[in-house]
Every structure is written in structure tokens, then in C-alpha cells.
């Protein structure tokens, strides 16, 4: 138990505590990564394969073969008993417990084989049918568009208005600044989760219920964002602004030509946070959006639950498509996110 709680040890041979540590980490990898990986693998299984119990680790698809005289490719089976035992046959149709098959080299002669005497010929392959179905049967692109629109527009607005406020609060000395700061600190304590009812009324009065704007606007002014940016802007020397004033720059120009470029690292952190919040947002969109054509991906995923009596095939594919963009974006920006989230407390 003991030495593994501290870190100051030389680089000699692996101590037993090191083994314990690596064991824990490997278990961690299995537990943290495994489920998501399992979901991704499952999404590439055919619907038949999804029904398979016990589930198999890898996605299998049945071998299909084109047989002369039949327009569609036919599923291939291996016969396990009877006169054709050991041969691969293509199934034409199945009637009850009897399967009518043909030999690929003799496509005219139909042979009857009891279904218990045949086994499908399978190989590991990714089935994309779930994804194809998602695009064909459901309004996936609409959901994707809604989510993307909300994320992109909300992030732009958040960056713009929060950086403007942070600029005012960090670089101007005006009466009432303390009050504004106090009010913003105050809002840190009031998450939207506890003002849902009146928020709904106000957004309704603005005519924004069941519109994407009704999701975008209420969360655009985040105290976290203002703080993060203000803290950063305070480190920009005032003399640079004075120099720009001597250079005949207007205050607005100082904001966007000097302050914005110099705050780029902080803006990047806020952008990442905003993208994450918006893409993953759930409760407020659940309340504010009502018609299905306005649903975000998260709402669509949630609504799949009851409506289709859990159509896992589509649901799995859609889940993967929902998590891929965010994971992809963040795979590149891992360092930024970690520091960003750690420095702001995440929300």
C-alpha cells in the first residue's frame, strides 16, 4: 500500500507498487475506453448481428455471393450435415425450418436443407447499413445542422460580447464598474437550472421559444467567459493601449486590432469551452425546442428512446456521429482543453 502513494522514487527496476499502478491504469483504460469502443464497434454491426446473443466482440457480416440467375446477391451458408455436408451453398429462400439452397457451380438445381444443418459463412467486416439507414430514414442532417448552427453561432456571439465586456471591465476605470463585477459574480451562483420557469416565459415573450435563437441567446453571456477573458486582458499593459491612442486608433479599433489578437489564447480556451457546452447542451434545449425539426442531436438521441422502442441499430450509429465531431476536434486540442477546463472550474 505505502510507497505507491508517493512519487519520489528513482528510476531503478520496477517496484511492486509500479506494477500495481500499471495494473490500475490498464483497468482504467478498459473501463473508460472500453464502453465507448464497444459502442462504436456495435454501431458497425448489422441488425441481425445486434440481435445475436451472446454478443460477439467483432462485427461479423455474412458472406454474400452473386449467383447467375438471381438478381440480388445471396447469403452463403456452410452445410453441416446431410449429403452436401462441408459444402458452401447460397440460400435462395427459407420456408419454415427448411432452407432452399443452390450450389454456386450449379445454380439451377435447388436443394432443400433443414436450417439446423447449415451455418452462415461469416467474416469480420464493418457494416455501414446502420449509417445508411440513418441518413435515409431519419432527418439526421437536420439535427446535425441544428446542433452545428447553435454551436457555431452561440460560440461566435459568446466570444464577441464577453470579450467586449471583459475589455470594458479590465481597461476602463468608470463609475459602476464594481457594481457590474459584483452582479456578474452573483450570476455565477445562479445556474440556469434553477430559473427554468421564468426563463421559459421570457424567452417566449421574445418570441424565441421553439427557435434555435431561443437556445443560443440566453446562455451567450457567461460569467466564466467574462472572468477568464478579463483576467487575461489585465495582463496586457495599458501602455500599449495608450500607444495605440497616440496612433489615432479609435477605442473600437483598439478592441479589435490590439486587444482581441493579444487575447487569442484566452479566446481559444473560451471557444473550446463554449463549443463543448453548446454541442452537449441538453436541459435547456429540451425545454426550449418543441418541434422535431428543431431538435439538436442530443434531443434527437434522447427522443429515440421511447419513440422507436429503442431502435438500437440507428441509435448506436447516431450516438457515434454525435460524439465523433467533439472527440475529433478535441483530440487535437487536448492540452488547451485540459488547462482551460481546469482553470475555470468547467462551468
Amino acid at each position: 500500500m505505502t510507497p505507491f502513494l508517493t512519487r519520489t522514487r528513482g528510476r531503478q527496476r520496477l517496484h511492486w507498487t509500479d506494477w500495481l499502478a500499471y495494473a490500475y491504469l490498464c483497468l482504467g483504460v478498459l473501463l473508460m475506453f472500453g464502453p465507448v469502443l464497444w459502442l462504436v464497434i456495435s454501431s458497425f454491426k448489422t441488425e441481425r448481428e445486434l440481435q445475436h446473443y451472446p454478443p460477439r466482440l467483432l462485427p461479423y457480416v455474412q458472406k454474400m455471393e452473386k449467383v447467375p440467375g438471381y438478381s440480388d446477391p445471396l447469403p452463403v451458408f456452410k452445410v453441416t450435415a446431410g449429403p452436401l455436408a462441408g459444402q458452401e451453398v447460397a440460400q435462395v429462400r427459407r420456408i419454415g425450418i427448411v432452407s432452399q439452397v443452390v450450389r454456386p457451380d450449379a445454380p439451377q438445381t435447388i436443394v432443400k436443407v433443414p436450417i439446423k444443418d447449415r451455418k452462415p459463412v461469416e467474416h469480420v467486416a464493418l457494416a455501414t447499413s446502420n449509417y445508411a439507414k440513418l441518413f435515409k430514414r431519419f432527418n439526421f442532417f437536420q439535427f446535425f445542422y441544428n446542433s452545428t448552427f447553435i454551436t457555431v453561432v452561440a460560440t461566435i456571439i459568446t466570444l464577441l460580447i464577453n470579450s467586449m465586456a471583459a475589455f470594458a471591465l479590465s481597461k476602463y476605470d468608470f463609475r459602476g464598474r464594481g457594481t457590474v463585477m459584483a452582479l456578474i459574480i452573483g450570476t455565477l451562483m445562479i445556474p440556469p437550472t434553477v430559473v427554468l420557469v421564468p426563463l421559459f416565459l421570457i424567452v417566449r415573450d421574445f418570441g424565441m421559444i421553439d427557435t434555435l435563437w431561443g437556445v443560443i441567446i440566453p446562455g451567450a453571456a457567461t460569467p466564466t467567459g467574462v472572468f477568464l477573458l478579463r483576467q487575461y486582458m489585465l495582463t496586457i499593459p495599458d501602455e500599449i493601449l495608450d500607444a495605440a491612442r497616440m496612433d489615432k486608433a479609435s477605442e473600437w479599433k483598439i478592441y479589435w486590432r490590439i486587444i482581441l489578437p493579444l487575447s487569442a489564447p484566452a479566446l481559444a480556451v473560451l471557444a473550446i469551452l463554449s463549443i463543448m457546452w453548446r454541442w452537449n447542451d441538453f436541459l435547456w434545449p429540451l425545454i426550449a425546442l418543441q418541434r422535431q425539426e428543431h431538435f439538436t442531436l442530443q434531443l434527437a438521441l434522447n427522443s429515440f428512446r421511447g419513440e422507436f422502442n429503442t431502435d438500437w441499430a440507428s441509435l448506436l450509429a447516431m450516438t457515434v456521429l454525435t460524439l465523433v465531431p467533439i472527440v475529433a476536434v478535441f483530440a487535437f486540442l487536448q492540452k488547451y482543453i485540459a488547462t482551460g477546463i481546469a482553470s475555470t472550474g468547467g462551468k
Binding site: 512519487r7 451472446p54 441567446i217 454541442w279
Partner: protein
Amino acid sequence: MLKLITPFMQIVDVPMRALQGLLGPRRLAWVFLLPNLFVFGFFTFLPVILNFFYATTGSDHILLQDRPFVGMTNFGQLMNCQSYLDPNTCQIDVFWRAVHNTLWFIVLQVGFMVVFSMITALILNRKIRARGFFRAVFFFPVLLSPVVVALVWKWILQDQGALNAVLDYLGYPTVNWLLSPTWAFAWSIFLSVWFHMGFYTLILLAGLQAIPRDVYEAAAMDAASPWRVFRKITLPLLMPTMVVVMVLALIKGVQTFDEIYAFTGGGPGSATTLVIQYIYQNGFSAAPRLFGLASAASILVAIVLVALTAVQLWITRRNANG
């Protein structure tokens, strides 16, 4: 990037220049604050005020003028219990069940979370290979959406899912996890810890790395045993971070809704219904829409949150000063 926004900024420059001439540079600050204050004002302050109006009026109308004043009736109903320990004796038993669930939920969730993120942070803080990779592994669920997390685990826990298959293979009886109240609740806590652990691990890891190396070196010179080093140096120096982690986890725990709602829908029965879900259902999903009760309940939650946040701010300030 700059090229992209230049035309927009140049257009805005014209009215801003005029305003600067009119107001002078100092009062221009208010113009910069305006958009933010507008959004804050309408979508944060105003709702806070209106929440009190909703909480003190009745009926299922959303418009305030249609709602009769009922005073503290909504709070009275919510608090009307013979024994707060037994939801069945309460007038609004669902609310109290949600409160009980939430309390158990946060106690267990925060407890497990702190323990596991602490262990993970300590291990990640050792000299290990591929530390970046392992850190990312524990952190990445934080990026996922609550709905995705819920579905990932539902897929594993479903009747014919991977977990049951493994149990089957090992010869144990299978369980229909999400149909059993106890298991559903246990898995909810598990899922929540799985989801958020990486975040707290990261904070604790930063706290551990902020402990100066020379302190450990001094301890090594003093021939302190590893266990003593942990007890007497690591733990005390990490304590402020631990407290922050705990309070943050509490604040977030009270507000939990998304992942559990998407995971169990609050069921079976109301076994996993948490307070925020109670508010959501009363105000937005079930008819009649009891906005008054929803608002009253959210004010109670807000009081808890404000208290917790005040503690948090106090601690952060004290840490910053000390």
C-alpha cells in the same frame, strides 16, 4: 482569422467612433458592456426576480397576469410532511423522494468521485510511461455529452447487453439492471462518477504538481517513510485542492439532471428521479404544468447552491490569500 472579421469590425467602427465622440472614451465602456448586460439582465437577473413571482402564485398559466397570488402555499405544500425522513408521509411525496434520492446521490457520488480521482491523480503523478495517454484516457469522458454517456452505458447494461453476456459466460445469473430500483440507482452513481471523474482528477493532479519538489527532497533527507510522507506532506498540502474539488462536486451534484434523465428517465418508478428532474417534470413535461411548485422547488435548490458557492468562493479566496 483577422481577415475574416475585418469587414464586420470596420462597419461597427463607424457608429462606435460616433459614440466615442459623443460620450468620450470613458463612458464608452458602457457601450462595450451593453450587449452582455442585456443578455445577463433579461436571461439571468429577470428570471431570478420572476422566480419569486411564480413561486408565490398558483394555477397552470404561464402568463403572470393570469396567475392568482397564493402566498407561501407552494412552499407550504412542498414542506408539508409528517416526517421528512419518510417521503410517503409528505403531501408531495415525489418531491421528497427526489430530495432523498438527490441527497443519497450526491453523498455517494461525491464520496466515490473524490476517492477515485485521488487515487488516479496520485498514480498519474508517479513516474510512469505514457502519462499523457493515461491522463487523456481518464479525462476524455468529460468531453462527451450526457446523452451519449447514458446511451453508452445503457447499451452495455441492457437485458441482452455485454455485461449480462459476461455474467452468463461466467455462470452467474443475469440481471435486468435498469428495471431494478436499487441497481438503477447504483448504476446512476457509477455512471456519474465515470463521467465526471476525469475533471476532478485533473484538478487534483494540478494540485499535486504544485507541491514543490524540494519539500519531498527534504522529507527524503529526513528519512521519512513513504506512508508518512503521504500523511504528513502530500495530504495536508493537497487539502485546499481537495476541499475545492469536494465543494465543486457538491455544486454540480445538486444540479445533476441530463445524464440520469437520459439514462433511466428517472425510473424505474421514481427510483432515480432527482430534484432538477422534479422541477422539469412539474414545469414542462407532465400536465398540469405546476409552475408554482416548480419555481418554489427551484428556489429551495437555489438557496442550497448559493450557500455552497459562497463556501467555495470563501475557500478559494482564503487559499489565494494564504
